[in-house]
Amino acid sequence: MSSFLFLIPFVAAFAIIFGSPARLTARAAAVATFLLGLYAAATWSNSGMWSFTFSALTIPSIDMAFGFINGTSAVMVALAVTVLLAAVFSGQSPEGREKLYYASSLFIGAGAIGAFVSTDLFFFYAFHELALIPTFLMIGLLGRGNRKETAWKITIYLGVGSLVLLAGLVWLAREAGTYNILAMLEAKKAGTLAIEAGTQKSIAALLIVGFGILVSLFPFHSWAAPAYASAPAPTAMLHAGVLKKFGLYGLLQLAVPLLPEGMNAWLTPLLVLLLGNILWVGLVTISQKRLDSMLGHSSVMHMGYIFLALAAVVASNAAGKTNEFGIPAATVLMFAHGISIAMLFGLADRIEQRTKSLDFSDLGGLAKPAPLLAFLFGMAGMASLGLPGLANFSGEVMVFLAGFEGREASAPLGPVQIATILSLWGVVISAVYVLRGFRKTFQGPTVSATASVADLTLVEKIPAVLLAAALLIVGIYPRILLQLLS
């Protein structure tokens, strides 16, 4: 049944290609997907209702199996449908390219939702690839600045990442003897899935590098900021907000539970890399001269925290304990980051449309002519630096709690604890760049480009208010997500 979820945007995208009115179809499909998606996520534990299996091939057995693996899938679907709805209401299609513009957004949304509801490894992978192609097209065709070069760069980067990932997944499936993710997880729980440590280590390496490239793990992150800077608004929102989470989701659902020893073998290198994301990329973010590339870098930086939550789970598993905070922390933070970064990219696009530039030197004083824009942007910015009361805060607090989970007071600090303490500095770094970015854009005297801009129109308010509401609700009442996970 949940297959309907990705079928709606998928069918709507084809309808647009074959002549259905682009904007109307896309918006109607996104609203329908949003409603059905939230309903599916809220009722996912009512098992059977949302799962669906269709045998694509018997030998080797590959099923088109859909359903939720666990609560994390439900949260990711909720994220995907929310951002998809916001994305089709954001941005402005260039004259005459409406078909491409709206169909691509729907394809990206369909691919992301499809990946999150697949319970078969083959289609899990395939849907993500499906979503990448319209991403490349949108950047290459309708992007800004150096779009063609950027599009080639991410095509090659993500293409290589996907191939490495495919090798890892096929190897994993071969060791497990099935492509069915649920069967793998059950076999692991029952103790019948025993992969020897050396093999685990190799598969884990492939998965960390493959998924890592897709998530922009340091040092594979250099594609991300230019890509988001030149992508059209809906593409940046959908990719940074939703599609990029695919890599983290894959690590969380496959590598962490199925390859505990393999992941633990790479724990220290992983911690070093994620500190690279948080500290190194964080410092790079501070020195950005453009709003869009600042946002792009900040999205790379925040991936580090989610990796930290994964690392905490891996370390606890290796010590034979369960980490109560780790998986909820990663899930809530993925959701919160997805919403806040989508909101920031959406609003940055509105700023650019008004001022024709996102260079800090051309901006300033926007809060005076456009107070609502400034308020909403500020809210999303504050969310991303972890202000209490907004969604990211609960995620980040849980990450830090997860880092110290199960540690005895007398024991010396382990690598995860050291990384957690160091990564706390990331909060300071993000405060610096968010506040600096906000000041340069919205405060101070107005300049010629910003003196007479209009505030958000009614249509422009829809996506921003929707995402702001999601940030507030989860911020004040995180249980709404956490109860899905229990």
């Binding site: 290609i17 074959f18 269709f54 045998s55 694509a56 091939l57 018997t58 030998i59 080797p60 088109m64 078909k99 491409l100 083959f122 992978y125 395939a126 849907f127 690839e129 499906l130 192609i133 097209l137 290459g140 065709l141 063609k148 095509t155 090659i156 293409g159 290589v160 191939l163 495919l166 090798a167 096929v170 190897w171 071969r174």
Partner: protein
């Protein structure tokens, strides 16, 4: 109905079509092509009800002519016959659409005289491919392969007033003759070593005791010869030139039908050695050839600016994947047998390559050019065709949810099962290079500004448009649900 009727009927009909060339007036020649399509469809339907000697051993013809020594009709033979018929039908549809260009270069006037001859040659070549799928004996294999090759000499050089076509014909003739020489010489050595031409007898000779040096020499020569036919590097040099010069329908047929037959022959020749003590070494030779072919094909395609030449290199690259599939089958290590694996790959290759040649032919007929820049800005001139090209190129590159991905996926999987890690790494790198050159076409379609702003209307026949549409849809449907193809192979 005994299975051998299929080929007998097909070749008879081919000869009848040749006679029709003399009596049907020029402007009515299209009917000959349509008749050929209709007839091949009938044969295709008959393939499903035909029975082989195992089902009906008492039938007179089987015993009277000792046909069982020469002819088999198992699931694999049936599948490759279906493949040959399907590709011939599609090539005929292409050829009917291409007839204006064919007749421009064949006669003094554009009266379409001679085109029926072209259709009839396609039908005769199909019969040869079908025979080859049933060969149980080296002599049978050789005769059908020669029938195929000689037909192709004519098909390649068919546009006799076109220098490119003639040049391609001469190149193909010389290299084809050379490879035939290798093949016959290899067969002679094999016969000398085993005293038999039958594959069954060779299997026994190869597995009971260690194959003698003459026997290995024989099979090595045959690998070289068949390497020419399938376009394996370093025996691939003829492919880009011949593909570029030959009329587009011939190129499509060469690239799909002839390649499939080459692989049928290669698998038939290699199968007797699968259980021999030297299997590992022999199949490693194929793996090495596969790696060289993958590198040459994929990296050679990168600088190409001509769409047809790019497809030629793509065909070399695909031969590399197919060789890898054959090589992975040593010691029965894979869960799918190599005829199944190769069969699936060839079926997927047929669908997407035929679709690509349909697009090429369409562009050639309507813009007069075969260069990639003829596709510039197509997304604004004909968006639906642009979407179709996107699907086709995505499938050739091996993007998931297309049939091309599933074919490649099976090959990778089989090679992993056989423990050929180095080959898999090389194949993965070259597949990544494939993304680059297939997407070059998409770049032209979507990114480049059109040279000509006017919308490009498809002026082809509805049969042609329908076939292209069906092939494109098939890429997506079989990408999600490959079971129907698998059912045919089993």
């Amino acid at each position: 109905m005994p299975a051998y009727y299929l080929e007998a009927l097909t070749v008879t009909f081919g000869i009848l079509l040749l006679v029709a060339e003399a009596f049907v007036p020029g402007k009515q020649k299209t009917w000959v092509g349509l008749a050929a399509i209709g007839f091949l469809l009938v044969v295709l339907a008959m393939t499903f009800i035909a029975i082989g000697p195992d089902k009906d051993p008492e039938a007179k013809a089987w015993t009277k002519f000792a046909l069982w020594d020469l002819y088999k009709f198992d699931a694999t033979a049936k599948f490759y016959k279906i493949l040959a018929l399907a590709s011939a039908i599609l090539v005929l549809i292409l050829a009917i659409d291409y007839r204006a260009i064919l007749s421009r270069y064949t006669g003094e006037t554009n009266d379409e005289n001679g085109t029926a001859e072209y259709y009839s040659l396609i039908v005769i070549a199909t019969a040869a491919m079908m025979w080859m799928a049933s060969a149980k004996n080296l002599a049978m294999l050789f005769v059908s392969l020669e029938l195929l090759t000689i037909t192709f000499y004519i098909l390649v050089a068919f546009m006799k007033r076109n220098v490119g076509s003639l040049e391609a014909g001469v190149k193909y003739l010389i290299l084809g003759a050379l490879s035939t020489g290798f093949l016959v010489y290899g067969m002679a050595w094999t016969y000398g070593a085993t005293q038999s031409l039958s594959f069954d007898a060779i299997t026994i000779a190869a597995s009971t005791d260690a194959p003698s040096a003459p026997m290995l020499f024989g099979v090595a020569l045959m690998i070289i010869a068949l390497g020419f036919k399938v376009g394996a590097a370093p025996m691939h040099f003829w492919i880009p030139d011949v593909y570029q010069g030959a009329p587009t329908p011939t190129t499509a047929f060469l690239s799909v039908g002839s390649k499939a037959s080459g692989f049928v022959a290669l698998m038939a020749v290699m199968a007797p050695y699968a259980a021999s003590p030297h299997a590992h070494k022999l199949f490693s030779v194929l793996a090495i050839l596969a790696c060289i072919t993958l590198v040459v094909g994929n990296f050679g395609a990168i600088p190409q600016n001509n769409f047809k030449r790019l497809l030629a290199y793509s065909s070399i690259a695909n031969a590399g994947f197919l060789l890898l599939a054959v090589a992975a089958n040593r010691d029965g290590a894979t869960s799918l047998s190599s005829p199944q694996l190769v069969g699936f790959y060839l079926a997927s290759y047929l669908i997407m390559t035929m679709a690509a040649f349909f697009v090429l032919s369409l562009i050639r007929v309507q813009t007069g050019s075969e260069n990639i820049d003829a596709l510039d800005g197509l997304s604004r001139r004909n968006p639906i065709l642009a979407v179709a090209i996107t699907v086709i190129m995505a499938s050739l590159a091996g993007v998931p949810l297309t049939v091309g991905f599933i074919g490649k996926f099976f090959v990778f999987r089989a090679a992993m099962e056989a423990g050929m890690v180095v080959s898999v790494v090389i194949a993965a790198i070259t597949a990544a290079a494939g993304f680059y050159y297939y997407f070059k076409i998409l770049r032209a379609v979507w990114w480049n500004a059109p040279n000509d702003k006017a919308p490009l209307e498809i002026k082809s026949s509805s049969l042609f448009t329908l076939s292209l549409g069906l092939l494109t849809v098939a890429i997506l449907v079989f990408g999600l649900w490959p079971q129907p193809i698998m059912n045919l192979i089993k």
